[in-house]
């Protein structure tokens, strides 16, 4: 049978299995395996099934994933996010909408340690929402800024989405991490700008908080110093070439462990909870990775990526129209699927096209990650919103989705900005030592 037709049938079958609620990782692996049998042979498919899962996981490079996850879990379970929030609350909480701005800032800082959007949204849902509620912030603004701020977790390094992108496309994980810093800060600033504009237009949305003395502000810096120092050590070490990504992850995890002990926050219960949650996240991420690798072998045999490249490049359409269509397609997929899954499913097919059109692979990784962030807050499957609504039970999900809209527009603006000026993304990675 024609490999392209087998490929199309395989992709349709995959979507059918996903609609039937099969686990995404298992569906990709199963379809990849069956497709491999059709296009190659049963024996070679079984051989692939024996070798590939073990060889994919027994990897030194991939140890960055559990180690960075562990670093985040130590920070999460020892409640370090609350110190960040308190610090920013004292510095900018007195501004109109200041608490919402502090929440976004704290989300960005916390994301730099945890790399998890869900953990960030859950933590600040519990810490920041009651405080904003106390100052009569509108539910829309309060929940919108937490859900959107939480998404920064997968853009600001360390980020498991960027790690997976690096593995699938064979790009440097260190460069991808460094490339995520400025766009992450840009996006955080855009969110703050949105809050400023909203509260300026309608001050009742978010009243100003109390003012604190300079001494109180300086003291608050001390509490967060170790956490910010850890970020500077990990990312600075990566940027200067002092650490590889794996070394940075090991140092980061051990550093977070030590900080949690020094702050007397790491009880045995917290330690075990951190290890348990890391094990759970590692399991589902690697299951997806194994599934993606088997599926990728099948996709390569179908020759669909090659045909797609020659068709799109041959059509002579503007590359910006193509990239807009790609982003739009990712957004639509993001309405129904979780970001990590879209990444491993679609990137192997679309990546050769994007590179052939002359886009930088690091830039594309960042753009796709922002699109993945949007999928975290887009209805009906906005995972961040689900998590937040579990924490903030008194606010209907509909209100949270409405509150997110201005931040969603800011994300589109960020993508447009980074597309018009790719140097914003590429400046830091290109200057790495």
């Amino acid at each position: 049978m024609n490999p392209i037709i087998v490929g199309i049938i395989g992709i349709l079958f995959l979507f059918l299995l996903l609609a039937m609620r099969m686990q995404i990782a298992f569906a990709m692996a199963l379809v990849g395996f069956l497709g491999f049998i059709v296009l190659s042979s049963f024996d070679s498919a079984v051989g692939l099934l024996g070798i590939l899962p073990f060889d994919t996981t027994a990897s030194y490079t991939l140890s960055v994933i559990p180690l960075f996850l562990l670093m985040g879990e130590f920070a999460n379970h020892s409640g370090m996010g609350s110190e960040l929030y308190e610090m920013l609350y004292k510095w900018i909480g007195f501004l109109p909408g200041g608490l919402a701005m502090a929440t976004v800032g704290a989300c960005a800082c916390f994301a730099a340690i945890t790399g998890s959007s869900l953990a960030t949204a859950a933590m600040f849902g519990a810490i920041a929402f009651p405080e904003m509620k106390r100052l009569n912030y509108s539910d829309k603004l309060a929940t919108g800024c937490i859900a959107a701020g939480g998404t920064l977790g997968i853009l600001i390094p360390p980020s498991s989405v960027l790690i997976l992108y690096g593995i699938i496309t064979e790009q440097s994980i260190a460069k991808l991490f460094i490339a995520g810093v400025i766009p992450g800060l840009c996006l955080a600033l855009l969110f703050i700008l949105v809050i400023y504009v909203m509260t300026k237009a309608k001050p009742s949305l978010g009243a100003a908080g109390p003012k604190f003395s300079m001494m109180e502000k300086v003291v608050s810096l001390k509490a967060t110093g170790s956490l910010l120092g850890l970020f500077v050590l990990v990312i600075g070490g990566l940027y200067t070439g002092w650490f590889t990504a794996t070394e940075a992850a090991g140092v980061g995890a051990f550093g977070a462990f030590c900080v949690a002990i020094l702050k007397r926050r790491l009880t045995m219960k917290n330690l075990l909870a951190s290890l348990k949650d890391t094990a759970g996240s590692t399991a589902f991420i690697f299951a997806i990775l194994i599934g993606a690798m088997i599926f990728q072998h099948f996709v390569t045999l179908t020759q669909i990526p090659n045909v797609l490249v020659s068709y799109i490049v041959g059509a002579g359409v503007s590359k910006y129209i193509v990239i807009s269509a790609v982003i739009a397609a990712f957004m639509v997929l993001g309405c129904f699927m979780e970001g990590l899954s879209i990444m491993v499913l679609a990137v192997p097919v679309i990546y050769p096209v994007v590179i052939q059109l002359g886009f930088d692979p690091i830039w594309f990784g960042i753009i796709i990650t922002i699109t993945m962030e949007m999928s975290l807050i887009t209805p009906p499957v906005g995972v961040n919103v689900f998590v937040l609504s579990g924490v903030v039970k008194e606010v209907p999900m509909y209100t949270i989705f409405r509150g997110i809209l201005p931040f969603w527009v800011a994300m589109i603006a960020c993508i447009a900005l980074l597309t018009a000026f790719p140097k914003i993304v590429l400046f830091l990675p290109n200057s790495m030592m």
Partner: protein
């Protein structure tokens, strides 16, 4: 609020083994963090390193992943798209779960079998790591056992779905 019925018989045994396998992951994770940090520290400060860190890390990674897959599935931690089935009756949902979980059980049984043969080939070929000459096949056995355990968890899930088809 709907509560989950407690696991019985075979399922409770499978869940218990999955839980203990997950505890192995916790230990190896902690070990991985310590050995990575120790290696970096020695390399950057004393310009020496722990022999075989790369291969120890690689073998640890396989143990971490395959020992945690089953426990993740016990708690339904593997991501799926469940929004499309939510509108259907419980019985229809159970029928779909029965089909998909049985297919997954068969697939992971096949993967276990394939990895079993890979481990035998590795043992017969005498494949060892470069620096420490550690045999690789025991870790492939561990991976194989992890896959088998995941297959057992999926079998329990499909049996549970079968019960729901008849009970609902």
């Amino acid at each position: 609020m709907e509560t989950k019925p407690p696991a019985r018989g075979f399922e409770s045994w499978v869940n218990l083994v999955a839980k203990y396998a997950d505890h192995v992951t916790w230990g190896v994770l902690f070990f991985l963090m310590v050995i990575t940090m120790a290696d970096v520290f020695l390399r950057k400060i004393f310009h020496t390193s722990i022999l075989g860190t790369v291969e120890i890390t690689e073998l640890s990674m396989a143990a971490i992943v395959f020992c945690s897959l089953a426990e993740c599935q016990v708690h339904d931690g593997h991501i799926k798209v469940d929004i499309l089935l939510k509108g259907f009756s419980k019985r229809v949902q159970a029928v779909f779960d029965l089909i998909t979980q049985t297919a997954c059980f068969l697939f992971f049984s096949m993967m276990t079998w394939a990895m079993f043969h890979y481990a035998i080939a590795m043992k017969e070929g005498g494949e060892v790591t470069i620096d420490l000459s550690l045999p690789k096949y025991p870790i492939v056995w561990v991976a194989c056992a992890g896959c088998a355990l995941l297959a057992m968890v999926l079998l329990c899930k499909s049996l549970k779905a079968l019960r729901e088809v008849f009970e609902s």
